[in-house]
Amino acid sequence: MTPLAISAFTLTTALGRGRAAHADALSRERSGLAPQAIEGCGLSTWVGEVAGLDVPLAGALAGWDCRNNRLAQAALEQDDFLASVARSRARHGPARVAVFIGTSTAGVRETERAYRERDPAAATLPSWFRHRETHNAFSAADFVRIVLGLAGPACAISTACSSSAKVFAAASRALAVGQCDAAVVGGVDSLCFTTLYGFHSLQLVSGAPCRPADAQRDGLSIGEGAGFALLERGDAPFRLLGYGESSDAHHMSTPDPEGRGARAAMRAALARAQLAPGDIDYINLHGTATPANDLAEDRAVCGEFGTRLPCSSTKGWTGHTLGAAGVVEAALSLLCIERGLLPRSLHTRAVDPAIAGNILLASRAAPVRHVLSNSFGFGGSNCVLVFGGGA
């Protein structure tokens, strides 16, 4: 594919707000995980919670108020993202700028609250509940579109934990076919009981900070986050070089133990980027810290890249931000390119002897030209992205 310029990007996670906060956390080795203290939640687990989302949306956006949209709003307002989109909108016209947003939760936290407050005898939810502006997956994309004043093609992509990686693929295609001249891509996912108790019911949640690739790993730490990027034709200091997508066709909630789908997606991403495995300097792993994911992913990575390429999951820093993980880890990958940094797999003490890949147990400085970022989701949905610096 023709590489695309990433003219702007930003992210918000438990590590902080914006690029500088994330770069600072990475250099100081500060994790965003903390014991959960969510009102009414009885689970003993650590989460990556974003602080300061307590102020309701106001004015014209008041009807869209929910934690998910507050998180999106907070991220849009940092790192000059609004100004960058405004320039693009002025250059191309609002109808020529597309919006693709990944989410798995949207505002289901509001639906949970509406059910708690409902009158079980009544056939309706409380009158304050707004399906379209909070619960519906498209709410995340429509909200971003309205905040940014855009009128191009728009949709939400919801493929569980690969959602906001796949938005880069959809945007690349829309640009290639000429349906738009720029695209805002991103992802937003917020902490809620559905995912906390849901992953708990599958026995996939750790009671401690998650330890990707560790011999003692016992599940994930759930996080929340938002990230956005502006894609355009041309050159910029950061570029999207390739994407690869595949399906496991194996099981709804367990990866193919051989990692065949994951490997096929990595191959497709390399082929689109016109790069060989040896051109990649670092892999940002999906690395959820569940026993099955990390082992299957390692098979796929070592099959394609051998066992020497530096790899790490950043889930020990941010938690697993689910539908936002793709774009959060894309943004972290770009920070690694910018800063020449290979971040370590935080909380990992001793690598599982069954894992053969070169898991980084210490962060180090090194030139980073090309990063490959993995995102895999329930339903066997795989998406792999390749990023690079400017041409």
Partner: protein, 263 residues
Amino acid sequence: MSIVFVEAVGLVAPGLASWAEGRAVLAGDAAFERQPLPALQPGILPPNERRRAPLGVKLALLAAEQATLGATAAAAQLATVFATSDADMDVVHRLCVALAEPNRSVSPTDFHNSVHNAASGYWSIGAQARGASTTLSAHDFTFAAGLREALIQARIDDTDVLLVAFDVSPPPPLLAARPVPHAAAIAMWLRRQATERTLAQLSLEGMPGPESVMRDAELERLRRSNPALRSLPLLGAIARREAALVHFAVHGGLALAVRVEPR
């Protein structure tokens, strides 16, 4: 933009139980009679998965099976685009009921079925389809967003694509907040090359225009009743073997235009 060919169509809607029935009604050869949906028993799922699959998944897979004409080898090669505004609202309802109880004991099967891409996951397992698969939502405009993505993907990623659009009727109390009165699904096998089976050819156009509607009042009510059935004006043109420029309403008062030519 370049052309994509419709190889086959699948349809499951009240009174339009299959593409064969739907085509006759849409072409004006048979009267429309509102009927309950047929039994949803997609044969493509292994018995274990069929037991676990929720209603929306079975509905989507039934339409997908129709649209792939039993061509299992070809179906395994297709990229897929699933377009659903709300996926399985029955599952959402059960989870939210459980999460409102003091012990918050949710079913692990309900949780993995609650992902928006559950239908895509079950289809890939049943059809052994290992290619790219996207699941998207655009509220009432979901069919147009799915069709746009499928047509683009066919050309840019150089692949044949199976497009499946579906939504179910939410149970109370969600129904009042999202009034979709009944379930429906449509599917289209889209190819890069014409074959002897090709029904029509489609291309994206840039021309704005008012949303296309159904002339028949009952069919127009049906079109508006479910996001997947916003496809009816397009299916009507295919059924009548008519050349047409079909406009779909999208967000913000805008439209997506698709040119249809018979083959």
